[in-house]
Symmetry: D2
Subunit: 337 residues, 4 copies
């Protein structure tokens, strides 16, 4: 019955959490915002009122509320695993923003909790899997248009970062998206990672190496190279090109329409990830809700989250040591096939 | 309150009507499908079941049903005016597919009915106003990026049409979209239209002149030229370029991602309007629903419908006579300012 | 023998003539500048010195000079026919800038002079036939990639014109290029022309209708539409798209390389015809010289010149009357097959 | 005097040498082919006849011929240094195809010979410096459009290679172009190189690692990454993007004009370097000849040749060892400033 809406509880109403509130309330079909929690209690109660939801006193209160059918976790990363575990314990589906957890061990605990229950609860917010351009790339790969994939050339540029941002955070907060994309496009795991840096931009926070060049290898030997550049100033720019044995497929930058004057041809550039991936986020939430309506848990799963964190953590070690760091990932349980 | 869904009754469940059912049921926030009517009773009852709606025995039954808050009319064009009038009489908002009616007189009756009620009920389904590319064009015009508009160069190509399609239908069924776009982009009315044809494609149905070249002029003297080509075979291709006194702004064709092999660079082309404007339709319905939630009637209005039909009918006359046909439009009532 | 250079006499050393001097002297193989004439005697003698050529006292002196093998005419248009006739009389090949002459009668006299001699001497400077983008269009047509041509959609925009420029000159000085391109691409003649104008740009000289929309029809019924806009300010912009029964082929605007900053994506636009068609001019001159070396007269011929002027003059009448003006062209003599 | 042609002797008339013969004979101004030598004597005498040149019995005979003013060396790479030295000894300018020599020591001997003479004779055939797209990149860098350069992302793909091609030859024959481009764009030297390989294409000759990923660093710390892929099948594809502290500038792939049919949008891809860089080669030769006419030696110099070979040889070692190999380059003599 489409008339019974999925009642969603949302934990964390910062940038991305507030966007999710808006999406569930105003942009997707089949769901409504039932309850919210954020430590910023003033902010959250006004937001709750605006969408006809209740503001509850704790994350746990949201998860365990009888009127809440499913959870979205958009709190800081250190709470992701714990809140996912509470959701699993409560038997409720949870869409958790990436990463699943900052450490491999915490991710493993979430995976184990699902394995014990014998079914999936967790969806990971790797929204790029819903982006039209990435989907075209994957269609070209799956349709064998360009032969065997041999090299993924990626760019991930962000206009700026807070002063506290570090070279390691480039791996855990940004490159983690390329890690998931590579796994998703190639259908195999990353087996090693190294990180190379040269001269840094004068606009980077003190101590941040930026840009860095990340080179990963997949289990079958496909190279994945990433220019990660988080203080690139000009805008948000995510690209990927798959070089195959018979051709290549390219995902260019997003053009917002051009015009020409005496000053030349001009087009606005995507200013940030909210513009670039707004539609992907909407499709992600819509697909998640549609899945819940038919009893399915869709999107990237907890094992994807474990894998991404494991590679990102190897990347952190690579940043620190300059070495090629092998990635040790447990065998994927059949629950995630 | 987001929790009270707009209950939508949908009349006509052919191609576009069925898409609207899917959109209201599965793609937009804040609405549900409450009731359906179609003369194809078998088709409609299965569809109604699939979205938890009721199949009613007549269009009028849908409009007057107590549980229906708002109407979508997607029936054949000859019923649009009558069903809009029933909706107005019932005091219910109605989103009517274009055209408002095939004749100017019928359109005028709908406008008069709204004027008598002293408020708007009708939204016209000119979905291109919600298309991102058209919106960029309009931003460039409104932002005075390219000076005063002087010429709109439009292309409207469609892969194929039924054998019964006529040169006049190219005006009423296809060019009507360019008519609305020109009015919306320029913020003024069309004052004349002429239609020129040359050699026709061997793939056109017997008697159809295709392509045709349509030249309109706006009240301030802006030229609007349209290549209308409805049996173009290769795909669906809608473009517009505004040539201004200081520059131009272009809306190119929709690219679905390219790849390169030994056979060259290749990209899929938009096959039909459902792919090209699917997202515009979704945004149109979502905006309509969002408006209803706050007591507003959004989108193109009944006077826009009257104007578009008036110009399209002048175009029909231009096809038949080869003359420059002036467009006689009544003054726009202040209700539509 | 490549070591014997074609000794070229150049008449008229204004903008385009001076470019030709540079091309013959420094950019093409197998030719040298032997003699020059221009009414601006100071300018021409310095130019002659710079390329090791002689400055002669009259155009006729250049044509009849024993050391001159071939002539380039880049004088004002009213002298083109006379100088071409002198060249024919002297038995020397002549590359004449377009138009062959401002009137049909003068063009006919040149054609008749060649017919009397029984061979070609005149090449017309329709340089677009040497442009790579136009050549690709023609390859797509000749290779039957897009079916039967049905509509050519052309744009011809120029940044600005002198204050004395008139609506008629838009036909004779600018649209004449589209006339030749249409004939060359389609392999058939233009049979009628009409010109439509609306609001003019405030930047146009007094009395100039600009932009104008030109609609031509070919003998088989192909439509050719041209936006001619000579005071377009932003730059020089020539485009053509051929709409065929099975697809289309597009020649877009010339991009001089782009870069992206916080202000958006930016690329320089072609500022004028010298940049846009510089390489086409070079290839034209090189091909002309290469032809002379093997006894061939290459490029557009005198009949092409007659046809272009005839259509342009019909366009002038169309500007004045607003009518559809039929084009009356004599049968093409077999010399020009 | 433009009438005195530079008389060119060309040594080696294989693929690229034959192209140079055609260019000097038929495509550039101010030069003629005077003499040729190739070990394939049959081939060379027919070619000589076709351009009015003499076929001489040895390379040395060409260099020392009194009627030869300047030399082009297009023989196999192992003869480049020796023939350059002969030219220097004969006091004649020489345009030598890259590399200057396969080993650093040989390159150094050529540099030393010029230093002893106290002036330049050698121009190196790094034709990309004359390519319009590379020139735009450099203008954007020199004009400080995009801030400080931080990362050059390069692609160099070639359709196929002979069965004898090795992973080391990818450095000496292909990446050497990227080495020169990086030096020329950045205005500084390369200080280290490493080479990473993963899975190879099944279409590569036995033992060839292909693609390989090359990472270089410049003296100031700019990273240069290159995907080198010599058996890429689909075509010839050279790209470069400079990522700067304030923006980026991109050189995309060469498009040969597109058309759209029911099969989608299609454009031919550059099949090989002769198409992609044909115009750059012509401009290189023309500039070289123009320079000779005014007593200048233009283009990349012998020290550029030494630097490129030195980095490429470090790349060969990097292929073999997997190490980061430092580049040891002598100080640039002031002759080359």
């Amino acid at each position: 019955m489409t008339s019974s809406l999925v009642r969603v509880g949302i934990i964390g109403t910062g940038n991305i959490g507030a966007d999710h509130v808006d999406r569930v309330a105003h942009q997707v079909s089949g769901a409504r915002v039932e309850a919210l929690f954020d430590v910023m209690t003033d902010r959250v109660s006004a937001l709750a009122d605006s969408v006809g939801a209740r503001s509850l006193p704790s994350a746990r209160a949201v998860i365990e509320d009888d009127a809440v059918d499913a959870i979205i976790v958009a709190s800081p990363a250190e709470f992701h695993a714990e809140l996912s575990l509470f959701s699993i314990a409560a038997g409720k589906p949870v869409l958790c923003e990436k990463p699943l957890a900052p450490t491999n061990d915490e991710c493993q605990i979430v995976v184990d909790a699902e394995l014990e229950k014998g079914r999936r609860f967790v969806s990971l917010g790797f929204m790029r899997r819903y982006d039209a351009a990435y989907r075209h790339l994957r269609e070209h790969l799956d349709g064998d248009k360009i032969g065997i994939p041999l090299h993924l050339r990626c760019v991930h540029r962000n206009p700026d970062v807070p002063p506290t941002f570090t070279s390691e955070m480039s791996m855990t907060d940004a490159v983690i998206h390329e890690i998931d994309c590579a796994r998703w496009l190639l259908g195999e795991e990353i087996s090693s990672i190294r990180v190379i840096s040269g001269k840094s931009t004068p606009d980077a926070p003190h101590g941040l190496r930026d840009p860095q060049l990340v080179i990963m290898e997949s289990t079958s030997g496909v190279l994945v190279s990433v220019e990660i550049f988080v203080a690139a100033q000009f805008g948000y720019d995510v690209r990927c090109e798959v070089s195959g044995s018979r051709g290549f497929s390219s995902m260019g930058y997003q053009d917002l329409g051009d015009y020409v004057t005496v000053a030349g041809r001009h087009s606005a550039f995507s200013p940030n990830w909210r513009v670039r991936f707004g539609e992907a986020y909407r499709l992600e939430i819509q697909d998640w809700v549609n899945g819940l309506a038919v009893g399915e848990i869709r999107g990237a799963n907890a094992f994807d989250g474990l894998a991404a964190t494991t590679v990102a953590q190897a990347g952190v070690q690579a940043v620190r040591t300059g070495d090629i760091v092998p990635v040790h990932l447990p065998t994927r349980p059949s629950l995630y096939d």
